[in-house]
Symmetry: C2
Subunit: 199 residues, 2 copies
Amino acid sequence: MQYPEPIAKLIDSYMKLPGIGAKSATRMAFYTIDMPADDVTDFAKALISAKRDLHYCSICGNITENDPCVICADKTRDQSKLIVVEQPKDVMSLEKMREYHGLYHVLHGVLSPIEGKGPEDLNITSLVKRLQDNEAIQEVILATNATPEGEATAMYISRLLKPAGLKTTRLAHGLAVGSDIEYADEMTLFKAIEGRTEI
Amino acid sequence: MQYPEPIAKLIDSYMKLPGIGAKSATRMAFYTIDMPADDVTDFAKALISAKRDLHYCSICGNITENDPCVICADKTRDQSKLIVVEQPKDVMSLEKMREYHGLYHVLHGVLSPIEGKGPEDLNITSLVKRLQDNEAIQEVILATNATPEGEATAMYISRLLKPAGLKTTRLAHGLAVGSDIEYADEMTLFKAIEGRTEI
């Protein structure tokens, strides 16, 4: 015996989401049937709207409803600094800090030979062009993740930008605030000692 | 800075699913934006269809597109046995076994004083009525979960049915097939010894 078709299809759709296997998808599908009808309708509308109304900003590559995005359109922001991140959600994390008021550029991934992702698959060409066209930018802060792929991507971009004489910086590595030395891994400790500062 | 509204709404919708917090919902929402448009449309349609086209069978309470459900409508099934389960997905698990060909009754929950769930919140009245109206049923197999609430619910129903002189049975407790005694908990071992059979 099979599940009735409507629920089988819903399970299939849930299984396409990242980190969701057959068991979780089934649980979610049965849960959906018991949800208020309005919530389900809103959910369906939100799916359609997210896919239809969101685009990538033609300048920075961040997701946005309007092109250019609010950050690129805001001329009161510091036009001399640009942070390069992997994903749109990284922009959101940095904005939550409320301490940075410059620009962003979203790569949409990292260099990954294993996954066959080269520089041409990332938003790198548009970054180089943006820096050539926009002389106000004086510092590029590479904020890719502290993973091997993130490091390699930051290294690649910094070498690409060096001939232009731009100041290129990388986020500091070290102990997370509030973390215990006991639980820090060797590489993090090494980076924390290497990057120690005078107090 | 907030997320653009379409993605904020989608994150809210994902967060209504069981076991999904803010981080997972955000990851799923960004993933959705990168999914093929057809998949997203199918997902939205599946949500609407699951909520609109699925109903509970008026006889057994299982989810179904047509009323009565395929199991209740199938007169070739053994009309003398009835398994009582907590949820529609339990019916599916038992059907996968392909060894049982009788009927089902879905309670849609268990007795839970903590959650304020009493007998009137479950499909128990309809079970009693069904057993009164249908004299072909000779055995009621209580297949609620082996949790305290499941046990209490099975006990409650068996007491309710006793005056009618119906045969009421409970699924066996013991070691799962393929499991190690080493990892079994005390209660399971106790039940396994208590329910030992001659070989």
